[in-house]
């Protein structure tokens, strides 16, 4: 029965990061049983260590030639490796920030880290998924971990409510996505992205089959749009961002975006790339709605997490604009934007966490009042982050917007570009609000920063990175361009 095992075990090493991570999860899980509550720090350090090693393993696979194994359900290409490395780095940073928050709010539990690791695993599966099945499973691994992560603060009413909303809406979205997948499967007869791509590109675009593909496409796009948090499938975003513990919000707002982008790329670009003209219109509408609603509603928020949620929606609109262009460079622009956004979002939520102290939940914009007086350094860091989010050069956020705009304009969507920049300006207003509270207001909030040095250090580096990469963005741009 040799043909039972159809994969070559020697090629398993390309799955090494995943295998290692899963093993690490199991080990930590078991180890955790024998740790008392005073040594839970160990879990944290083990988590960081396993993230680091996974990242290194993934890093080792960068520039590896493209490999598709497991009967075409797993792909290793440059994009996957780079995304994985980036995810690991982002998660490590997020965990550094989380530790402070968890300690301050008595949420420091090893399950938290295990769930994070599991969700990372799910995202790795998504990033490398090359069949509808693995993509779906990865998505569910991610989603289920996130539901649990949000609800982990079960003393907080908001957190449970957020988890519940996310859960229900997420389930609907998954179901819609599945429905779309079933249609694609039904018309193409395969779950494999590669075969779907072949089928679609061989299909006469005038035949009735395109109608079915189109029909399925609608559901797929909606499912993906939900994961990205694009209007009108954004409703979960503000509630979850606000309700979840800040460290979870930090996590949700950053790393899963890569996963969402990669599922988008795998299905819509790799799979249905030749149907581009069909889904780009949808994307255009969704992104315009996202930019508009995100920018405008964020203006009237007073809760900083909620405000950042709406700003995320607006950023997602920009990311989706990159996919409207239909060129590989355009997709690169979207990826660039995503990576940049993650870097900024990490720093922004990191700043919120930084201000948390024992039992004091920081989530109002006005909590930043007078920061520049008590900690000029971190006020400066926040300034950099906010201006970067607003897209002011020479900070990194500018280049991401620039890249997208350049692609949009070169594809001839000048009106949309004009629209986008106008809303970019409008959105600047609420970033300035934070700067206003930090710098311009005199009233004292008596902010003390008692985070550990590692958090302070990482946060500073995070923000400075935004500036430095902003000054020398060439490397990062070259990197994202090499992904396709």
């Amino acid at each position: 029965m040799n043909n039972f095992i159809k994969f070559d075990t020697s090629s398993l090493w390309v799955v090494l990061p995943e295998i290692f991570l899963l093993s690490a999860i199991v080990v930590i899980l078991l180890l955790d049983l024998f740790l008392n509550k005073y040594s839970q720090q160990v879990t944290y350090y083990l988590t960081q260590l396993s993230l680091l090693i996974t990242g290194l393993l993934a890093f080792n696979l960068i520039d590896h030639s493209q490999v598709i194994i497991f009967s075409g359900s797993f792909i290793l290409d440059n994009m996957a490796s780079v995304f994985k490395v980036f995810m690991m780095v982002a998660t490590m940073i997020a965990m550094v920030y989380s530790r402070h928050y968890l300690r301050a709010h008595l949420l420091f539990r090893s399950e938290y880290f295990i769930l994070v690791l599991l969700s990372i695993l799910g995202m790795m599966v998504m990033v490398s998924g090359y069949s509808l099945l693995t993509l779906y499973l990865g998505l569910e691994i991610l989603s289920l971990s996130l539901y649990a992560l949000i609800a982990i603060a079960h003393e907080r009413v908001y957190a449970i409510e957020a988890a519940l909303k996310y859960f229900i809406l997420g389930a609907i979205a998954s179901a819609l996505l599945l429905y779309g997948m079933s249609m694609i499967y039904g018309i193409s007869g395969s779950l494999n992205i590669n075969e779907i791509a072949n089928f679609v590109s061989n299909t006469d675009l005038t035949s009735r089959k395109t109608l079915i593909i189109n029909f399925g496409l609608v559901f797929l796009v909606i499912g993906i749009a939900f994961k990205l948090g694009s209007v009108p499938f954004h409703m979960w975003v503000p509630d979850v961002y606000q309700g979840a513990p800040t460290s979870v919000t930090l996590f949700i707002s950053t790393v899963p975006k890569i996963a969402a982008i990669s599922i988008l790329i795998r299905i819509l670009v790799n799979g249905l790339g030749s149907m581009h003209s069909y889904w780009s219109d949808l994307f255009m509408v969704l992104s315009i709605l996202s930019i508009t609603l995100g920018s405008v509603v964020a203006l009237v928020q007073t809760n900083i997490k909620r405000m950042l949620a709406y700003s995320t929606i607006s950023h997602v609109g920009f990311i989706m604009l990159g996919f409207v262009t239909g060129t590989l460079t355009g997709y690169s622009a979207a990826i660039f934007y995503t990576l940049v956004y993650i870097l900024m979002s990490l720093a922004a939520f990191g700043m919120i966490i930084l201000l948390n102290k024992q039992g004091f939940e920081v989530d109002q914009i006005s909590d930043f009042k007078g920061l520049s007086k008590h900690s000029p350094w971190f006020a400066l860091m926040m300034l950099i982050v906010m201006l970067s989010m607003a897209g002011i050069p020479p900070l990194l956020g500018f280049y991401s917007k620039f890249f997208i705009l350049q692609q949009i304009v070169s594809s001839g969507f000048i009106t949309i570009a004009i629209f986008a920049v106008i809303f970019a300006v409008i959105s600047t207003y609420y970033y300035l609000q934070i700067i206003k509270f930090m710098y311009f207001d005199e009233i004292d909030n008596n902010i003390t920063i008692n985070a550990s040095m590692d958090m302070q250090l990482v946060l500073s580096m995070n923000a400075i990175l935004i500036l430095v990469v902003g000054l020398f963005p060439d490397f990062l741009i070259q990197l994202v361009l090499s992904l396709f």
């Binding site: 519940l164 909303k165 229900i168 809406l169 609907i172 979205a173 819609l176 675009l205 005038t206 009735r208 395109t210 109608l211 189109n214 029909f215 496409l217 609608v218 559901f219 796009v221 909606i222 939900f226 009108p232 499938f233 409703m235 979960w236 503000p238 509630d239 003209s277 069909y278 949808l282 609603l293 405008v296 509603v297 964020a298 203006l299 009237v300 928020q301 409008i426 207003y429």
Partner: protein
């Protein structure tokens, strides 16, 4: 020669700089010595220049000093044009300025701003030199504005006096109205000639032929615009309103700036531009008519004034009108001639007035004077000379110049010149009436001086008396001495152009025999008897039957009212320009700028966006079934869109 001109121009500047920056350090005596020495140098050199150019018929000096700006072929430089006109002006300006400097020692000695004052008047002299020595329009404008600046500073010299600072602002602004036209004129000159240099401009005048602007010949427009500048500086109706106000400044500068030199800049300028004005009869007519109106109506105002300086000021306005009339009838040299004589006797009159004011302890109301003749004999006599010169008493310098103007008008062939002739003749009567009225009220009759002042009443100090005497001499004689050379022997010929069609000067020359013969001839003319009439009536009202004056005032109270309200110019300006502009500004600021643009458009759009945000956030109700419904509803919309409107729709709608 270039160095001499430079020294003439710069020595007052050096004096001004020293007095201005180091005056308080150096002390009063050093300061005034230095500035006066500087002026003396200028005066002496001016006389030398006068001698060289006018008497020895030296060559016209026209040279650029340095390039101000150079753009391709357009060169605007700072340079000197010294011809006979300039030479005459140099002498007049430097001489009177010197006298005023000396006079100031006595007049201002106790003022806190003594050194500053010297700095200013020296600076003024410098500016005036720049103006008259200029060889191009830019530099002319430079000097033009610079004298305006100094005038502004000096009118407001006593800055604690509200009326003084009000007056200097008014003076500057009214002058700016003139400058506005002047600058436009200059710009148009550049447009047609491509240069701002006098010589080049005058050479390219034929380019303007057949060019039209605003329905007039281009050259007419240019001349009128330039004349607007002259109207501002030389205080012609209706831009005269600043000059009476300027009397708020110290008396020496009233003499120097607002009588003798600066206000005549307009006259000088028009004479300088004579090649242009000669091309436009319309412009000349306007000049003449404006001058005539100023001459008569400003004179009339002099009758009802009781402030000694104001009377002199209105007489200045009137005399400036005469000069302008002369310009209008193409008798430029006559205008310059009158400018010169007027400079001497009007400076003298002002200084006399100043002397009286000092003696009266800064009392300026002539109704509270009287009988000063005995207390202040020198002042009296010099004042008498000045007055007689002003009214054109035969033999005095003013007689020659004014008579020439009247004659020139008489001979003019311009339309309306016959009306203007009537006006200027009547003007002679008016002039002599108000002049003598003032003179009688101040020096003759019973003393109405209050007791306290009367005790200290005495003749002024020597530094005041000296200039009076020195100025009295030319007031007496200069007309007699120079009329022939200046008007008919071509002193000014290399500076002034008169078109052959404008025959006044030619006829004058034909009529003229000698200076001496004019005196007997005058007695047979109407102007002489007008003057005598004026004197008589003045005597009647101010000495013989003072109560008649009051009776006339009451009887013709309407006329009196019109005169005392200065024809309502000030009220009109206040109402229309000052208040109007303020109202307009407030309207624009409040309605257009603040409400419309800022509140409505700028902040309004922000508010709209915020409002939209507030509305849109209502979508986020918090109910999960609403969220789900929105998702499904969006699904419906998208599905419908894709199925029915896509590129390959299921159903054609």
């Amino acid at each position: 020669m270039e160095k001499i001109y430079l020294i003439i121009a710069l020595s007052p500047l050096v004096g001004a700089v020293i007095a201005g920056f180091f005056g308080t350090m150096l002390g009063k005596t050093t300061t005034h010595t230095l500035t006066i020495l500087g002026l003396l140098l200028s005066t002496v050199l001016s006389l030398y220049v006068f001698n060289y150019h006018v008497l020895e018929r030296g060559e016209v000096f026209n040279q650029n000093l340095y390039t101000w700006i150079q753009i391709n072929n357009l060169n605007i430089s700072v340079g000197f044009l010294i011809d006979n006109l300039t030479a005459v002006m140099l002498v007049v300006v430097s001489f009177i300025s010197l006298m005023v400097h000396i006079y100031t020692i006595g007049y201002m000695y106790n003022d806190v701003g003594y050194t500053k004052f010297f700095s200013y008047i020296s600076l003024f002299t410098f500016s005036m030199f720049i103006l008259i020595m200029s060889n191009n329009f830019m530099q002319l404008f430079f000097g033009w504005e610079a004298v305006g600046l100094v005038s502004y500073l000096l009118i407001g010299f006593w800055h604690h006096k509200e009326r003084a600072v009000q007056a200097n602002l008014k003076a500057f602004l009214v002058n700016r109205v003139g400058d506005f036209g002047f600058l436009l004129g200059i710009s148009l000159v550049l447009v047609f000639s491509g240069s701002l240099d006098y010589t080049e401009v005058f050479l390219s005048l034929e380019k303007t032929i057949d060019q039209q602007l605003w329905g007039l010949d281009l050259i007419t427009v240019i001349c009128l615009l330039l004349f607007v500048g002259a109207m501002g500086k030389s205080a012609q109706v209706p831009l005269h309103v600043w000059l009476p106000g300027s009397m708020e400044g110290p008396t020496p500068i009233s003499a120097l700036i607002h009588a003798a030199t600066m206000v005549t800049a307009g006259i000088f300028m028009v004479s300088r531009m004579s090649p242009m004005f000669e091309l436009s009869d319309i412009a000349l007519t306007v000049v003449m008519v404006v001058g005539a109106i100023t001459a008569l109506f400003m004179g009339l105002l002099g009758i009802v004034q009781n402030d000694i300086k104001k009377v002199v000021a209105y007489s200045t306005l009137s005399q400036l009108g005469y000069m302008t009339v002369a310009l209008g009838v193409s008798a430029y040299s006559v205008a310059i001639f009158h400018l010169m004589t007027h400079a001497f006797f009007k400076a003298l009159l002002f200084l006399v007035a100043g002397s009286v004011i000092v003696a009266m302890n800064h009392q300026q109301d002539i109704r509270k004077m009287g009988g000063l003749r005995k207390k202040m004999p020198i002042t009296y006599w010099t004042g008498l000379i000045g007055t007689l010169a002003l009214i054109g008493f035969p033999g005095f310098s003013g007689f020659y110049s004014k008579d020439m103007i009247i004659e020139a008008v008489y001979f003019s062939s311009l339309s309306y010149s016959s009306w203007v002739y009537v006006v200027v003749v009547v003007g002679v009567f008016v002039t002599s009436f108000y002049s003598l009225r003032m003179f009688f009220l101040v020096f003759h009759g019973k003393s109405r001086v209050d007791v306290h002042t009367a005790k200290h009443l005495h003749e002024s100090v020597s530094s005041i008396i000296f200039p009076l005497i020195v100025l009295a001499i030319p007031s007496l004689m200069i007309g007699y001495l120079t009329i022939e050379f200046m008007l008919f022997n071509g002193w000014l010929d290399n500076a002034i152009t008169v078109a052959s069609s404008h025959i006044s000067m030619a006829k004058l020359k034909y009529e003229f025999h000698s200076a001496a013969s004019m005196i007997p001839h005058a007695i047979q003319t109407l102007p002489f008897w007008m003057m005598i009439g004026g004197i008589a009536i003045a005597w009647l009202f101010s000495i013989y039957k003072v109560q008649w004056a009051n009776w006339v005032q009451k009887k013709y109270y309407r006329t009196n009212y019109v005169l005392e309200s200065l024809y309502g110019f000030d009220r009109f300006n206040d109402l229309i320009f000052v208040n109007g502009v303020k109202k307009l500004g407030n309207f624009l600021y409040k309605v257009s700028d603040t409400s419309l643009i800022d509140k409505l458009l700028v902040n309004g759009s922000t508010k709209v966006i915020l409002l939209v945000g507030k509305i849109l956030r209502l979508i986020q109700t918090g109910y999960v079934y609403h969220y789900a419904f929105l998702m499904i509803f969006s699904l419906l919309i998208i599905l419908t869109w894709v199925l029915f409107t896509g590129e390959n729709p299921l159903f054609e709608l």
